[in-house]
Subunit: 377 residues, 4 copies
């Protein structure tokens, strides 16, 4: 048992997808969360095995994997109150309604509930949406940009890792009306864990080692949808966490909302570094923009706006739930260059999911989440 | 002796800076060059040592390192006709005149002769230029963009690694008048060998491993000068290889020539991947731009314009003198996204230096240079 | 302040060497230790700087670095009761007496107090011992093999990283009289952080990446002394933690105690994997030896004897204070092959130092120390 | 066509398994071999594709992949005289007879023809041998230890990568009668390309990165068979390249020939580093053993016995066909410690295959093979 001293002040949680990287990360963080009691862990691939057998680095995880699909009623009986679903896109959505109907709250880490529009989902993910009736009911869990939505939400759509980095670095300028509307150029570098744990030629050590380059550029990457939707909401002055349905629908391509996104794969396990150029509506000085960002993120423990002599790096946020952001202004003050780094598995996945859950429960956002990272790894 | 079978058809060469990464790379490539006879190798740090002792991977390099500063007359006596200088910025320039005066031709891999303006040099490199009278006399050796300059040149300034990638990927559009003049956003990733071989905290394995992020962004990076100079020359319809002095002087900041450059360090030894957004003067289709690039680079063995379903990656050019380029068009055809990858030590340094030398000698550009790379390294 | 809620149940600690890898690791672990109050941090290189500036991954470390050499009296006044010294060999020993005289307890992570014999120290470290009168007064802190010594100790010599791995994997057999006395062959692989943080050609990313090989083989490595001393003590039936002076003196070369040690450097940041062949005094079956090991380490949370179908790997212990051990028997039952993996900065340095301190204080060994590691890093 | 200038002095070659790492390496090396004309390339997975499409790093490889199984008669018609088979164990053996019957010579890189005994093969590879009648007819191609066998051979069994490293480092001592017969302890580190190109969890970047540890220890590894067979042949004074059938049969376990082998996986793409302890029959000095090794390998370009102050490293042999060997003597002169490093894909696979072919053709061994490696990769 993870938490033998479980008392009345803990909430029962369950995790689906425990053999994947985000699933393990959820379990790792929940195991030391002072208000969580991990009561059930599900896996499609390793049902019946000890979790410590699947993850030899975690002999302390003395749990046996449930079969998945899990039965919501059975999980409820075992004291589960909230489910974190860390399954591939399309795998959990059809079952979400049953979990919600049973009275469980759900934080979904897949892309299934991030978009308002079933059409946009189909285009981005190449699937017919398995539960279109739930679209628009989920809060989009970019924690620092969600207001009352999270407290009330039964279903939270946890943002994509790239989307988290790009949006945290651009939304303050966009929401403040500083974006000119001309094309935003977003480049990002990702570690290999972002591609998941299923073996493929593209994640083979020999194929990754010593290489770096772009992939899925143009209008291809799935995260483009949620990035455009959030930017459109912010531009319109609405809440990023979930505006009135339909508002963002027009922002589905690179002409209606000119965001050009180029992801790159680099030979590291964890981390996203995003570098984004935002054309400004009027000339600005660097300090002015930095002040705007600092004001926007004041009181938010996990977004750190760096001083002018520092720049973010994935090794500074490895293992942490932080997103570090820096900025420069160029082209005579007409272009903002925003730089962000986060750990794709923490702030880009499991950490933000727990941060959202903390908000759902009314606890302080940082509860159980690491500010400091692993300098040496 | 590298080339015991040296005959009348070989030209004597010397290399300065043999204990650095670019120096070794020069020696490695010259050792198998069918027209080169490597006659002298100089080092400030390891004079008197066998080269195979400095580089245990190269027992075949049976040469003893000369002391450096080398004596041009003595080198001439030993049959050296051309000198490749691979020393840090500012270390060779003051001696260049003596080598030239002795009748030797020089390919300089440092940044010392790339810029026309001593003022711009001072700003970029933080040094007073050691030989200002030579400024403007060097051909800028971006091989594919130099015409008659190279054949006639006594002194060639080999371009910087980042500059080579960024310029090869943008010049066809700029020279064809397709650039709108709005800010170009250039991001690039570099392997660690680009920082040289001198140990520092920033190149320590533990500090680099698993990290990725920007550095020297804003108006800081030394290569900004040569990139702007070349873009301004191309925009003005002049030769990138060296226009009439003074032409490019106005292009020294981000307002006169709005190029925003963000270099990033990633955990690999070799390679540069550049991703550049170029605002277009008028709407274009991807195929149209690709055709323009293909036409421009037709007949150039080392620039490969990829098909629309491919993207460049540093592991595809590792060990090769190629620069692979791909392109996409976004934002309704108003923005060109150009992607380039090259090996910073080959096409970005030693390989291009030899390519320039081949042109100086009137030999075919590919003489002695590898098209294929190291798929597995 | 790390621990604003410091109460009467916390003990004040100080750390010397905070800008090194072991120093940071101590601070990282002590910051979440429920009984530690980190009151002073010293650095020779970065006095006056914020710790979070030296380590951007740790914005939560809101401490200013003291100048070093620190004044024991001043530290005592500030509530420091125990000092962890993580300085290079020879740097702290001369000051140790002053700290001890002031009533502070000391855990020293250097090699200065591990050996009984000043002569052996001189041979191993190439230095005259700075405080020979303290030799033999320190407890050798291989926690699982120290008895009452630790509780009573004022000065603990924390073992070397290689020594910890090799000894934990061999001592159960040796102490049980199962070693034949013929040559033990110990090979070990280490990550680069074991070489410290000072930049050198040998730790340059480009020189390390993609390479693997032995170094300091033969009678050269400094850890040979403490390994032989501990094996001799165990063979003689004495306590590994510190026997009667003189006992182990005869074990100072490869004939008196035939241990052959070959360390290897591999391209990773953390971790040691040791593979050791121990000739057995009489034939044995694998299960018999495993049972012997399991009995010896029963009740010790940080040594895990794996099942017969598992093998240790550094990635399973990364970030953890565990040492995983597996064994096979070969050559007709006459040879034990013992395999161990640990994190050189945790169980091989900072973690074991804190484990020793827990014992000094009479707290449970696992207090504040991680069992689980970082599966993905 | 690789070699458009093919003349009468070139021999037609074919390669099977062109989409694997050893296959590519064969093609890469054969493409610059002055006596080879690459006429056919076969693949089970990518028939009909351009080789430059499968390997984007090799646009110069302008060949279309044949379907495989290839027809020996058709290949003969196309001028193929020798076939290099780089397929998984068990995949080619059944077809070998047809190729041989058609008059083609075969160098097989799999484990299928390395062992004399079908029973041993079954035990090592878990397969019934597909062509037992060919067992014992192949020359075992450890080039430096094969005599007249290679020149006459129609079928050469190319050794395993681990076996090559371990045998080159131990055979001089064993063949000279210096081995005592007590257990040899062989540890080796391998890069990930040794596991092949098929994706698996064990070769996933995230699972490999930052980890190091043993695998397939005990009596499990397939290369144990050929290592024991060669050692037994050398011990008996016979030829390692293929003794009288039956001689080595008794050497099939760890009691009849006590070799204990522990392979380790480390996070690099290429390379094997082996560290082997050989008990000596009588006391020896290091220089005496080094002289013995130097005499044995005199005239062999690809085995380099290092000086006493050097040690082998995989980065020194990366890309080269060399095997670097160093030695120390310990335990009072009773134990030889031999260290070897080679590139598993070159001297451990494709390079040695071509070296063997050079011998088969009566050409100098180094023809077309690299002595120098890639210092920076």
């Amino acid at each position: 048992v993870i938490a033998p001293e479980v008392g009345a002040d803990r909430v029962g949680v369950g995790v689906l997808g425990a053999t994947g990287y985000s699933g393990l990360e959820l379990i790792r963080l929940l195991a030391s969360h002072p208000r969580a009691a991990l009561r059930a862990v599900g896996s499609r691939q390793a049902a019946g095995e000890r979790l410590s057998r699947v993850w030899p680095s975690h002999p302390g995880l003395d749990l046996v994997l449930d079969d998945d699909p899990a039965d919501p009623a059975a999980w409820l009986d075992r004291g589960v109150e909230v489910v974190f679903a860390a399954l591939p896109h399309g795998a959990f959505a059809a079952r979400a309604e049953a979990f919600l109907a049973a009275g469980l709250r759900v934080v979904d880490l897949s892309g299934d509930f991030r978009l308002e529009s079933a059409a946009e989902y189909g285009q981005r993910y190449g699937l017919e949406h398995p539960a279109p009736s739930l679209l628009g009911t989920a809060a989009y869990g970019l924690t620092e940009w969600c207001g009352a939505e999270l407290e009330a939400a039964s279903l939270v759509a946890n943002p994509g890792c790239y989307a988290t980095a790009v949006l945290l670095a651009t939304l303050p300028a966009v929401a403040a009306g500083r974006w000119s509307g001309a094309a935003i150029v977003a480049n990002a570098l990702s570690g290999v864990s972002g591609a998941g744990r299923a073996p493929s030629l593209g994640t083979h050590f020999v194929e990754v080692s010593g290489g770096a380059g772009p992939y899925r550029v143009g209008e291809v990457h799935a995260h483009l949808g949620e990035m455009r939707q959030a930017l459109a909401r912010a531009q319109a002055g609405g809440s990023v966490g979930g505006g009135a349905p339909g508002e963002a629908s027009a922002a589905s391509d690179d002409t209606s909302l000119p965001l050009l996104f180029s992801p790159h794969l680099v030979p590291m396990s964890r981390g996203i570094a995003a570098s984004i150029a935002v054309p400004l509506a009027r000339r600005a000085r660097e300090e002015e923009i930095r002040a705007l960002y600092r004001e926007r993120y004041a009181g938010h423990a996990f977004v750190r706006v760096l001083d002018g002599d520092s720049l973010p790096d994935t090794r500074h946020v490895r293992g942490s739930n932080r997103c570090d952001i820096a900025m420069r202004v160029g082209a005579g003050g007409t272009m903002l260059l925003a730089y962000a780094a986060l750990d794709n598995l923490v702030k880009g996945a499991a950490g933000q999911a727990i941060q959202n859950w903390n908000r759902m429960q009314g606890w302080p956002e940082p509860t159980g989440l690491p500010i400091d990272g692993w300098a040496i790894a």
